[in-house]
């Protein structure tokens, strides 16, 4: 190479090096920002969900511990009246039935808000109880199979329980399924959850993009904060299968 070519060559090398450093720095900054962004989003969702759970637990406890005993007292006091008239007796029986219905409904709401079994006996027992309840009140046939132990910390267990509630609620509301099966397997360092229904299915990507309901978004957020993964297989008229992998 001649002198001029050598100079141009060196100038180009130097310029490329500088541009290379700037581009590398740019990519590092973009990756770092992305990490910070994800962290912030996770923190926000976590705080939001923690607040929501706390509030649910408080409302559930208020229902269970304050209103239910109060209604039971009202019922007892009504029954103290010495009534002889047949019409009054019938009226009292009707009032008793209504109070009984209100207490029952309040227990259901309180159970949905924060099942005591979940905190006391863990996720598997709580889901068993939930499925039992669903089988009682719905025409759909629910089946539940699970391994004996499920080593999940309390906050993760609450999130998994909420995910299950949301998935089952979606299936009941939209799928027109006649059978829904829930399967939980405790694997090494993770639990696998599979929820299948034989309903009409849906287009997952389309539904998620539409952002019409908060259901799928809420499931995604809860899966994200547990550090897990979610897979959805759904085709029109072929049912829906949700698979969750939650690290223990």
């Amino acid at each position: 190479m001649g002198t001029t070519e050598t100079t141009i060559y060196h100038a180009v090398i130097f310029a490329s090096l500088v541009i290379g450093i700037l581009l590398t720095y740019f990519f590092i900054v973009v990756i770092h920002s992305q990490k910070v962004n994800v962290g912030l989003r996770k923190k926000n969702v976590l705080e939001e969900i923690a607040g929501l759970e706390k509030e649910r637990a408080r409302i559930g406890a208020d229902f269970h511990d304050e209103l239910s005993p109060l209604l039971s007292t009202v019922k007892t006091r009504i029954n103290f009246f010495q009534l002889t008239n047949a019409e009054d007796l019938a009226e009292r029986q009707q009032a008793n039935d209504h109070i009984e219905e209100v207490i029952k409904r309040m227990r259901q709401i309180s159970f949905n808000l924060m099942p005591n079994t979940l905190l006391r006996d863990g996720l598997i027992k709580a889901l068993e109880e939930y499925v039992e309840f669903l089988n009682r009140v719905h025409r759909i046939r629910f089946t539940f199979t699970a391994t004996e132990e499920c080593m999940l910390e309390e906050s993760k267990a609450v999130n998994v329980y909420r995910i299950m509630q949301e998935v089952i609620h979606n299936a009941i509301k939209h799928s027109k399924a006649s059978e829904i099966s829930i399967e939980i397997r405790d694997k090494k360092n993770a639990i696998d959850i599979r929820v299948c229904d034989n309903g009409c299915g849906f287009n997952y990507k389309k539904k998620l993009a539409e952002k019409t309901g908060i259901g799928l978004g809420s499931i995604n957020n809860r899966v994200m904060i547990t550090g897990g993964k979610m897979f959805v297989d759904s085709r029109p008229q072929k049912g829906t299968t949700y698979i969750f992998k939650i690290p223990t």
């Binding site: 130097f14 500088v18 541009i19 700037l22 740019f26 900054v29 770092h32 920002s33």
Partner: protein, 229 residues
């Protein structure tokens, strides 16, 4: 060609006039940007007068590049780029000032163009601009006092960063070529300056938009946000 260069150089006056009108309304955080624009306006006038009298513009340009780099670094400090590393800001400013002094008074002469300073300062400004854009993407309106819901192209901080990245990256390349003595070829020099003219015009218009959309002063500050309480 001459008219094109003059038009491009004096396009900074659009931003300068907008800055003059809006100065009292703009949040103090963005004042360094106005100072940079005014410095550029003054430098263009001085350069034009010197050029008309067939005198070298190297001295005023050497002083201008030092002031421009310092004020831009102050702007980026206001954006919170050096929040976690306050020492870095003073180290960079001190380092650049030392380099400028060495290049203009010890290693070289002030009436010659100081290439090293231009290369290093341009490089640092591009790096800090990249940092500022990333911060803007993460923390958005909170730290940059940008009005929520506005498009990114009506975002003063974003426009400033884009402007500085475009201008100083090209300037960096040109300075590297000059450093290697490639300005010996007149055709090459004219062609590069031709590109620089268009880039300068584009960046001056971006700066004008940035000054126009710079956020206004906060009317009041909530107690919990004030660091002095």
């Amino acid at each position: 060609m001459f008219l094109k260069v003059i038009f491009s150089a004096f396009s900074i006056f659009i931003a300068g006039i907008i800055g003059l009108i809006r100065f009292r309304k703009i949040n103090k955080m963005y004042w360094p940007m106005i100072f940079v624009v005014w410095l550029a306006c003054i430098n263009e006038i001085i350069s034009f007068c010197l050029f008309k009298n067939n005198l070298s513009t190297a001295i005023n340009n050497n002083i201008y590049v030092l002031m421009e780099a310092m004020v831009l670094l102050f702007l980026f400090r206001n954006f919170g780029i050096f929040n976690r590393r306050k020492w870095l800001f003073w180290t960079v400013c001190g380092g650049l000032a030392a380099l400028w002094l060495w290049e203009n008074f010890i290693g070289g002469k002030i009436w010659c163009i100081s290439s090293w300073f231009r290369i290093v300062s341009s490089f640092i400004i591009v790096l800090t601009s990249i940092d500022a854009i990333s911060k803007l993407m993460v923390f958005g309106s909170q730290e940059f006092l940008i009005i929520r819901g506005r498009s990114l192209f009506a975002n003063a901080a974003f426009l400033i960063c884009i402007g500085t990245i475009i201008f100083f990256t090209f300037k960096l390349l040109v300075e590297i070529f000059w450093f290697y003595g490639l300005n010996g070829s007149e055709i090459f020099r004219v062609k590069l300056y031709d590109i620089l003219t268009y880039i300068n015009l584009l960046v001056n218009l971006i700066y004008a938009l940035a000054v126009l959309w710079a956020p206004p002063k906060q009317r009041y500050t909530m107690l919990s946000f004030s660091p002095h309480w």
